[in-house]
Every structure is written in structure tokens, then in C-alpha cells.
Amino acid sequence: MPAIVDPLEKARRGLGLSVEDLWWRYFAIGGMSTELEIEAILYQALVPTESDRDMLAVALNERFSELGGDHPLPYSEDI
């Protein structure tokens, strides 16, 4: 287990979102990776592309929004 939990994974756990639910949200906004790849990214077994990382951040931020929260996850620097 990595010592530091990825911020995406930390957010996912905080939201109580299953990997499957997160994947569906990611898929709906145009994500191209499979659920297993997303799981690997969350557990830091796979380094995400910038676009994958942003899409996951968007998917999680939108869930935060639905719950009345802010957008806590930053997108890559060009955004």
C-alpha cells in the first residue's frame, strides 16, 4: 500500500462513491479507460494521463457539487 493516498482516491472515499460509480461518471464525460485502469490509477499502480486525471477530478467535483459542496479538486495547470 502506498503511504500517501492519491487525492482522487481520498476524495472518492470521502464521497462514498464506488469505483464503479466513479467510472460511470468518468465514462459519461468522455473517459476512455476501463474501470480496472481507473482502479489502478486510484491505487497509484498506474500513472494517469493528464486528461484522465482531469476527467476523474471533474467526475468527483461534480459529485461534490451535487452534495452542495465546492470543487475541491484542482485540474491540471492549463485549466
Binding site: N61, E62, S65
Partner: protein, 365 residues
Amino acid sequence: MDDQPDAFSFGLVFDGQHVIVTVDGEVDLLTANGLGGVLTAMVRDGHRDLVVDLGGVTFIDARGLAVLATVATLATSNGGSVTLRSVSAIARRILEITGVSELLAVETARSGETKLGAEEEADDRLANVEEADGSVPVPSERVLARPSTEVIDAALRLVTSLAGATIDHADGVSVTLERHGQLMTVAATDDRVLTMDRHQYETGEGPCLDAKAEGRWFYIDSLEDETRWPAFAPLALGEGIHSVLSSPLVTHDRPQGALNIYSTTRGAFGTREQELAALFAEQASEILTTAARQVTDEESNQRFASALTARRTIHQAQGVLMARNGLSADDAVGSLFREARKADLTVLARASEIVASLRSAKGDE
């Protein structure tokens, strides 16, 4: 009963022009990921035009479709294409309903070529149950519909009557389930057990309720000496019942109800009877789990259809931003995300606005 899923396998054939991927067996969550990995790797390796032969597929769910849609999008964005070959009539209908057929080319199966939906080709389904190689095609209902409540209840009634016939001293067996937030008896071997269950629902206490609530079994050896359920015990004694064994029915680690066995004999259920009861409870749980899985499949098909619609809208908005602002595909998506956040909208809502603005601009011309 053989409950093993059909083994999933795939093969690669080159016909000089295309790479043909042949798929056999069930395409579900795990295998879809495997298939997706192979197809994605092929596109990235420069195979532009993929042909996927689904002739050997017995089952495909929304996840499998999502993989095909993703790979088709990837192939198209690389100037290539994905063609599905040997698609059964049923799979073809699913592809059309979900909109996946718009993303790729679909070749229809020749008669008798596919496993999925093979029963469509003959009026007499039984005649087609066993294929030449001895494999049994999966009924199409598995893909398209969930079993009706009637079918589930009939299966549970079978379990109760088998339990009643097999377990010594069992004078009545019932299945209690929570449906629409209410406990009800969905299968009972006779009227007395119906009454026994009703006494528990009405008094709000009893082994059946506790088995359901706590997810473990409750056994009453002798109702006369029972102190845990003071309101229920005298009512049960009034019906001539002395022993009760309630085993929980569990799906996905969540108790859903109980299998209740009643006896007029005191101390009726020994270790052997308790083990048998557990077996029957497990069988009933399995029926419920299968039913739940099929409901999940249906929900997941709906989820898939709406996810695909969202993808399409976002893809269109991306195209608009690329054309309007001279952006690359990646930058257009980044720009869309930024705009959505600025406007405090979801990406889909912002994408819809962008697509709508294009439509109204066109209308103004």
C-alpha cells in the same frame, strides 16, 4: 445445476486487410475489461480497422457495450473503424437501443451463426436448447429483461415445499421478504404458516423478524419456555406450534428476509435439521441474488444509455469549441471543463448550452 459461466476467450485472425478479433463466451465486467485492454492496445499499436466477431458470444452486458463504444471512439479518432461481425438479432437490437450502433459498423449474423439469440431463429425454443457442440445457449431474457416477481415467487415456493418435504418435523415452511419497505410472506406451504408469519408482522416481534433484522438464524426449541417474544409466543402456541427455526436470506451481505420453518413438535429441529434449513435458506438467497443481478443489469443498461447520450453531447461541444476557437481536441475538452466550472454548471450542462447555441446560431442565419 451447472452455474458456471461460459468460459470467455478471444482469438486473433489476420485476413490481410483487417485484424479480426473473435470473442467467445460471456462479456461481463471482468472479461469486458480484458477485451477492452486488447482492443485498445491494438488501436494504439496502429491497427486502424478492427473487426470484432461476436459469433461466439453468449452474453453481453452494458459494460461490454461500453467497452465496444470506447474502442470505437478511439479507433475513429485515429482515423480507423470498428466493425462488429456475426451480431445476433438481439445483440443488434441492444446496440440500436443504446446508440452504440451509430459508433461502429454492424454486420448482421447469418442464420445459425451466433449463440446469443439463437432461440430467435426457431419458433420452438426447446428444439434449439442444445447446440451441435453440446453447449447451451443463454436465453435472451438474461440480456433484455429481469425475471418477473411471479417467477421469483414460484422459485421460492419450490424451495419452501422442498424444505417442508425434506426436513423432519417441518409442519410448515414460509419465506418472508421485505418488499417496498414492508415485510410480507411471498411463499408458504399452508395457511397456518401464513397466520404464523402474520402474527409476527402484527406484533412486530418474532424469530422471523429478528433473523431478517440481524442476519443470523433464530431457533425456538419450546415456545412454552420462550421469553424473547412475549407477544408472539402465546399466539403461536394457540396455533399448536412449539418449535420455530428462522434462517436469514441474504443477498450481497444484506439480509432481505427469512426462511421460516414451523413445527407442532417440541424440540423439533436438531443439528441435521438446522443444517438442512441453512442449505434451503442459501438456495433461496441465491434465487434472490440472481434476480437482483438481473435488475442491476437492467439498471446498468439504462445508466449506459444515458452515459452514452452525455458522451455524445460533450463530444459535439468539443467539436464546436475546436472549430470556433481553433483548439486541439484536448484543449477543447480542457476549455469545456474550465467554462463549466466558471459557470458553476456540470460539464454536460455546459456542453448542452454550447451545442444549443450552435443550433440557434444556425437558425438565425
